[in-house]
Structure formats: structure tokens, C-alpha cells
Symmetry: C2
Subunit: 335 residues, 2 copies
DNA sequence: TTGAAAGCGCTAACAC
DNA sequence: GTGTTAGCGCTTTCAA
């Protein structure tokens, strides 16, 4: 059952068994082999609780997500998981969304119960209380996607992301460009949408093109929201219609494309559409987008916090790349 | 720092503090309040490792998923999480997919390290080794989606799911119906696709309609796969073309719809399409589908294993409902 | 290279 | 209602 039984079976001491199981170099090779064999025969299962109690390290990291069923969340989670697996750590998932959605609960220090050695936060916006709890916990923390004051952050440059799309469209000759962004209904960082919108506005200004106030639409970062926003933007007289729509996510962009089709408009002839992310659906449907790699971001975040939890102090995080992927939803404007 | 400090600060014993913190009824009300207040002031954080060691229960359940970025996975995970939150348990995520994807690793008893009190398995097919490890671990286990021998299972009746779609189409007058199913590339249960396909075949037979062997296509349970399968099925002379396509998932069905459009076919005039799931995209796009509720399945699974871990023996699991949702991708055949 | 012994922070009898 | 006393199963000095 425990290390004790193995000690008895082998005639060794608990201490040596413990060392052998962990493969410490101070143990004779044959001893290690013997211990491991016996452990296997006995069906030994180490107790993470006991090890955790003794060492103070749980070999687990917590991942806090605002919602679970979003493309970005799932991809980033995959990256974090891959890295944690490699490091031999477990992943404890804290989902703030969901019914009841008691956000604060997740951050109360009693909730963490010292179950994890570090934290990865997914594109969350933290309030004062949450920030304080994190501070107190003293857990190594990295935020993915969306800058958070006082916390290490990894993600694409959201200003640049929007600017890349605008530059592409302007080069094609577009001047009348609309924007679909908006707040995610469920707790995504406020920062991301705002920064992308600002990046859009500034890039447009740089190009000497003005944006009508009515050409900023709210797509709620969802497909359905994109359809609604697209319809609002495009269901107007041709001369009132933008020739291109920049969307802050692929899902919204796909919604805008659908809206265009429903209105009998051709994409990209009547209207160009761009997204952000690199969603698989967009690839199949030929959506021009500014692609990012949330999985890579997740991996970097996980690696960083694990190292930190082990006492290392990893240097500054590398910026995440975003690159324009031109496909079939953008073209020169027809007027 | 620990319970000890609180004991000192209050002049109580460790035992009483422990009881007060847990709100046991044997403690005087004022004592409870005092202890909690002091704990708060001291910034006390309970140690799950210590509690786990002492009680043998970790207040955590493991969720094993084959892949993380699938609609079903994310939804079910959300349901499991909601229930675990309510029960005050943590969720430890084990992802079998991902790079390296060392499936076995996840099941080796050493991996579980006694970190969880129970397991929820998401639509996995287990091999002999894995099954044995589970048996040995003696952890309460429930499998969601896809029957697994010797394990409690929750999910829709996959036979019925396909039959519902067929019945609907046959009632509309369809006789020439194709099927898009296939294996998920990444470890989904083999059982689900097979059972749905069999349900389809049997329902067709019951209706007195035969299915051409070439009308079974592999959509790999993905959107891109659906496009490919749809193209293969529909890019033929009109008389060789099925008048309807039953798909084993909404994502594949959406792919088939896209394929049809690309071939200049109108849905549902030229071809009817049905899916399975209840994906949000399908709702927006008017996809007729057999909807299921993975979130509810997740909740039931979580509740069941938690109860079992607490010593209760919950009765048999209620079957999960699947219901036909008729929208705009199905109609009478035009020939 | 191995052993003995002292905890890690909490819970659970068992007394009082 | 509260206190005392053993552990839970491991790791880690310190010796040998």
C-alpha cells in the first residue's frame, strides 16, 4: 500500500525506498531497480498528498478560465496541458463561468487551498479583490491574452493585430471600413477588445481614412453576435455600406460573412471581411485573418510558472507572434 | 500560517479550530465565529494536502478527455465543473490528446497519484491495460458518451439518435439517404460512430429503403472532414446523388452544407442535411439536428461519482435525452 | 550507500 | 463543547 510495505518487502528502510523511487543519484543502481520492481508488483501508488505535505510542493498548477467553451480557451488549455504533462505536473481547472458563476469564489485564498504551486490565468480581467488575493497567495502567475497590471503577461500585441488587418485592407484600396468587436458576454478581459478597437482606429487614422461612428458594431465575440452585427452594418443602402469589415475574432467574422450572404452580398466582391485568431472553420471557409497561436502561448505560460515554482526566475516572456493570413474574403473594393 | 497559529491566537486547541473551520455542529456558535474571524485576519489558507493525508479524501475528481478542443468535450467539461464547484470539489484535467499523446501514461496508476477521489471519462475507448488500471484504482468512475464495458455510462442512445434523423427524413419522403460518420482522428470512442451508423442502417432498413455502399462517407467528426465527405457524396450526376445526408455530428453536417453550396446545390431544395449535437453554429445556420445536452451529462456524471466517493451508491443513471430539432436544412425531396 | 527519527498540517478517536 | 493524542504517507536532516 505505501512506501512502508515496499521497505518491508525489500528489507530496506523507508528512506531508501523513497530515494530509490525518485531515482536519486545517491542510491545504488541495483537498489533502485529492485525497489521499482517490487513497487510495481505490489501495485504501489504514490500519495501526492503525503509528498505534497512533506515537500510543500504539489506538482500541480491551477488554470483559471473565464469560460470554457471558447476557441481560445480550449486551444490555450491544450498548450498549457502539453507543457504540464512534460513537466510532470497536474492541471487543476478553475472555471469562472458556468451557472452561479461566483467569480470571487475562485480567487478566495481558501479556495486555492494550497493545491497548486502556480497559476495560469486566461484572458481575465481582475478586480481589486482578486488582484489582492493573488498577491497574498504569492503564487507564480502568468496571464495569457490581455494585459493585467502587476502580472506577467503573454499574448499578441492587440494594437498591432488590428493594424495588420487595416493595413492589408488599405493596401487593397479600402477606405470605408467598419469594425466589429465588443465585450464578450462572459468575463473575457475588457482590455483585449478595447485595444484591438483602438489599434483599428489608429491604423485607419494613419491611413488618412475616417471611420463613421455607426461603423463600430458589437459582435459579442460570438458567431451569432457576428451575424447580428454584420446584418446591422450591411443591411443599408449601398452607398452607406462599408466596403470592408474588420472583426476582432474569427467567429464574429464568420458571422459577418453569413450575414453578407443572407443579404445577397458577395464576399469579397461587395464586401471584404477579416478576422483574428486562426480558427479552423476560417481556414476551411477561406477567411482572411490575423492568426495567433494560443497553444504556443499556453505552453510558454505553463513553462514559465513551473520554472518559477521551482525557484528559477525565467526572463521576460517572448512576445507572441500574430501574422496576417490572406485568404479569400478580402479583395479590392468594387467601388 | 497553519491551524496551529489560529489555536495559539485564540487560546483554543488545534482540534477545536479544525472543527470550527469546518463548521461542525459540535462547536459553539461564538467559537466558530471567533475562529473564522481570526483565521481571516491571519490570512489562513487550509492545506488540501494535509487534509487529504489525514482523511484519505482529496476533494477532487479527475476528468480524462481524449481531446480538449471539441465541442462535446468543452460542453461536458463545463457541466462537470459546475457540479463539482457546487460540491466543493476541484477538477483535475487529464488530456490524452496533445503532442506526444502518451495515452497509457494517463492511466498508469502512478499517474493518478491518489490525487483524485473519482474519475469522469469523456467518450473514450479503453484498451485492456487501461481498463485494468482503472479496476485496480478502485475509483468511482463514470463514462460520458460511448459505452464502456464494466463501467457505468451516461449518454444518449446512439442507435436512436440516428434513427430519429432517418425517421424525420423518411417522413418527408426521402429514400436516397447517405450517411457521414467515421472515426474521430483523435481517440474518441469507436463505439459512438459505429452505433450511430448501425442505427442509421437499421432505421433505413425498417423504412424499406436500401443504402448504397458508396453512400457511407467518412467525415472524421470535423468540419473540414464534413466538407470533404459532402463533396465526395454530392459531386456526382444528379441521379447518383442522395436526396438527403444524415451526419453523425453537427460539425460534419455544417461541412456538408458548405460542400453543397460550393457545388451550386441548394439546401434543402436539392439536398437535405441533418446533424447531431445541438451546436450553436447549427442553430444560427438553421441546421436540422438531433440535439443532446452534454452539459447535463457532465453534471450527472460528476454528481454520481462525487456521491459514490462519499460512500453513497447512487442508483442507475438516467438516460440522456436526444430530441429532433427541425430547422431549415431539411425538406421534401424535389424528385 | 543506507538508516533512524523528526516532522509536514491536518483529522479523528477518545477522554473530559 | 473542548482538549489530548495519535497518526495519515511521505521527505529530509543527520548519522553511520
Amino acid at each position: 500500500m505505501g512506501i512502508q510495505e515496499i521497505a518491508q518487502a525489500t528489507g530496506l528502510s523507508k528512506a531508501t525506498v523513497s530515494r530509490a523511487l525518485r531515482g536519486l543519484p545517491t542510491v545504488a543502481r541495483p537498489t533502485i531497480d529492485q525497489v521499482r520492481r517490487v513497487a510495481d508488483e505490489l501495485g504501489y501508488v504514490p500519495s501526492s498528498a503525503a509528498a505534497g505535505l512533506a515537500t510543500g510542493r504539489q506538482r500541480a498548477v491551477g488554470v483559471v478560465v473565464p469560460v470554457i467553451d471558447r476557441w481560445f480557451t480550449a486551444k490555450a488549455l491544450g498548450g498549457v496541458d502539453a507543457e504540464l504533462q512534460a513537466a510532470g505536473h497536474d492541471l487543476v481547472l478553475y472555471n469562472l463561468g458556468g451557472p452561479g458563476g461566483d467569480r470571487h469564489r475562485a480567487f478566495r485564498r481558501t479556495m486555492l487551498r494550497q493545491r497548486v504551486d502556480a497559476l495560469v490565468l486566461l484572458s481575465l480581467v481582475l478586480d481589486e479583490t482578486e488582484r489582492r488575493e493573488l498577491q497574498v497567495s504569492e503564487l507564480p502567475t502568468v496571464v495569457i491574452g490581455g494585459p493585467a497590471r502587476d502580472l506577467r503577461n503573454i499574448g499578441v500585441d492587440d494594437h498591432e493585430v488590428a493594424a495588420l488587418a487595416v493595413t492589408h485592407l488599405v493596401e487593397l484600396g479600402h477606405r470605408d471600413v467598419a469594425y466589429v468587436g465588443g465585450q464578450d458576454e462572459a468575463g473575457f478581459s475588457v482590455a483585449v477588445p478595447y485595444r484591438r478597437r483602438d489599434g483599428f482606429t489608429e491604423a485607419m487614422a494613419r491611413a488618412g481614412a475616417s471611420v463613421r461612428p455607426t461603423w463600430y458594431a458589437d459582435g459579442r465575440f460570438s458567431f451569432a453576435g457576428g451575424v447580428a452585427a454584420g446584418t446591422a452594418l450591411l443591411d443599408v443602402a449601398a452607398r452607406e455600406r462599408p466596403t470592408a469589415v474588420v472583426c476582432a475574432s474569427d467567429e464574429m467574422a464568420l458571422g459577418v460573412v453569413v450575414a453578407a450572404h443572407r443579404l445577397g452580398l458577395d464576399v469579397p466582391r461587395d464586401v471584404s471581411v477579416t478576422g483574428v485568431d486562426g480558427h479552423e472553420y476560417g481556414e476551411v471557409l477561406g477567411l482572411t485573418t490575423v492568426a495567433q497561436d494560443p497553444e504556443a502561448q499556453g505552453r510558454v505560460a505553463a513553462r514559465t510558472v513551473v520554472l518559477e515554482a521551482q525557484g528559477a526566475s525565467p526572463g521576460p516572456l517572448p512576445p507572441s507572434a500574430a501574422r496576417l493570413v490572406v485568404r479569400r474574403t478580402t479583395a479590392r473594393p468594387s467601388r
